[in-house]
Amino acid sequence: MFEPVIEGVGVVKRFGKTVALDGLDLVVGHGSILAVLGPNGAGKTTFVRCVATLIKPDGGKLRVFGHDVVQEPHLVRSSIGLAGQFAAVEEAMTGRENLEMVARLFGQDRASTKANVDLVLEQMGLIEDADRLVREYSGGMRRKLDLGASLVGTPRLLLLDEPTTGVDPRSRIDLWDAIRTLVGRGTNVLLTTQYLDEADHLADQIVIIDRGKSIAHGTPTELKKRTGRNVIEVHVRDREDVAEAAKVFAEFGDGDLQTDASTCQVAVVVNGGTEQVSRALHLLQAAAIAVDDIALRPPRLDEAFLELTGHELQERSSDGRVAGLKNASSPDSIKA
């Protein structure tokens, strides 16, 4: 019998008057990375906390490997590893001591604790720093240790709640590599993220949630195609022409318009294909705007998200740039 890794049906969670999960349906199959993607406050973390048995859902059914999170939390806890938004490691202990603590609390004896801890330290590239106090670790090293701590119990399901939020770009790629390696070994992963590029790079299934509900799911490619529309992107030669080009595109496009003065770029969602490119070029020429290049491409995930939800995944300021410090480490989502 094949039980899904996670099976959530109509999961409801309220905090006072706030409805964090509003009848969320979600199924995770075996051997995959599922990314739960959504803006801040969409209910991502609440969902992970429910799966991790840290909070109890108020309604619906939620099972992990067929075990109900409310009825059989101990069985659920035996099969999961959690790495949260904050690096949950003890600063006054060494990296090794932290991992040993978690392994022991998974019920491993001293011999398997040692073997697993050594293995995880090696996987995370922390062997050399294993016996230093975590206090002396950099932010990226702490995240790696936190990820390691979630692995040392050899869980069958790994829950990663925004694993790279606030991490520098270099460490981010390291963490991505580590996560990919895990999946190669058959660990199931549920990952939450507000970074589209992260979901795009790592996940083979994406569930988009908004206001506590699942609004779309599929592979990254499916979701991008879902809208059935394309994006025309143009680079104008002179920065002064950006506003003028935007005016042309606003009239001619069929959807969201994005401009970025710093890269002289204007993009708009259109219905249809290549014939629209020649129309766009024609209109730009008529307006005497010099163009460096023009391209037709499928929408990126952030554009698909906008199409599907009617609002943006991240706050965007007036010049089209994505606002918020967090995104500084996410170059792909800035380019808009």
């Binding site: 069985l75 806890r77 609390l105």
Partner: protein, 267 residues
């Protein structure tokens, strides 16, 4: 991957408690600010109170020093327990409690490990305070065995109060609130026989002071260390106070242990 029934994994309750206690102990021992607080705070109270109140209050044949030191030992350690409440909020904020909560161990083991580790640090404080007590003139009048029972009783009592602070920490949510809430315990310790004889208080306050746990605790230690003159002064034999302070400790652990674990379970 086929779904085989997930075997329940997890360590024994004993191992869980020991592993958690070790984490907390290492934290305190390796954080100088915490370690020195446990070492010096009680001693400071002890010296100050001994000399501020010393001589101002008559305590019959017992003498004020032998009267007040047991009170300072009991209450000084209770005040120090507040650090436990703040520590809990820090571990919650850092996500450590989420990690521990996702592991196959009982919630009660996490809190019990904390309570034990903090009690162990309090034992260290008690040793330092006891040494200083003798330096400032405190004497035992009823034999070593009873003095050791008194020390054990203080440890039991302090362990019970750790549960009060753990529960307060879990409810407080952040360090500042935890500090504020646990300050309630300060006036509570004053309305007792710890520093002054209860008879010196107005009638309505006497009723509270005579029946609250800090009074039984203090008077148990007093009679165990002060001997016959303390029993005469307080009007009851040592066994009277010992029994009541043990019952109070058990009630406190039961009530606050239940509330605290339920709070942690709820997430």
């Amino acid at each position: 991957m086929a779904s085989v029934a997930v075997a329940a994994r997890g360590p024994s309750l004993f191992t869980s408690v020991v592993v958690i206690a070790k984490q907390r102990l290492l934290k305190v021992l390796r954080t100088p600010a915490l370690f020195w607080t446990y070492t010096m705070q009680g001693v400071l109270f002890l010296v100050i109170f001994r000399y501020i109140f010393g001589g101002a209050i008559a305590a019959g044949e017992l003498g004020y020093t032998d009267f007040v030191i047991p009170g300072i030992l009991a209450t000084g350690l209770i005040w120090q327990g507040m650090g436990g409440a703040v520590g809990i909020t820090e571990d919650v904020a850092q996500g450590l409690f989420d990690r521990l909560g996702s592991l196959p161990i009982p919630r009660s083991a996490v809190l019990a490990g904390r309570a034990l580790a903090d009690t162990a640090m309090q034992l260290w404080s008690l040793i330092v305070m006891t040494i200083v007590s003798f330096l400032v003139g405190f004497r035992v009048h009823d034999g070593l065995a009873n003095a050791l029972i008194a020390a054990a009783l203080i440890v039991v009592f302090v362990f019970a109060f750790e549960w009060v602070f753990i529960t307060m920490g879990l409810y407080a949510g952040n360090a500042q609130a935890a500090q504020g809430i646990s300050m309630i315990l300060v006036p509570f310790t004053f309305v007792s026989s710890a520093y002054v004889p209860v008879e010196s208080m107005p009638g309505w306050l006497q009723a509270v002071a005579e029946n609250q746990p800090v009074t039984f605790m203090t008077d148990a230690v007093r009679t165990l260390t002060g001997g016959a003159s303390a029993e005469v002064f307080l009007g009851h034999p040592a066994s009277y106070f010992v029994l009541r302070s043990v019952i109070w400790s058990a009630v406190i652990v039961l009530v606050f242990g239940t509330i605290g674990v339920a709070r942690y379970r709820r997430g």
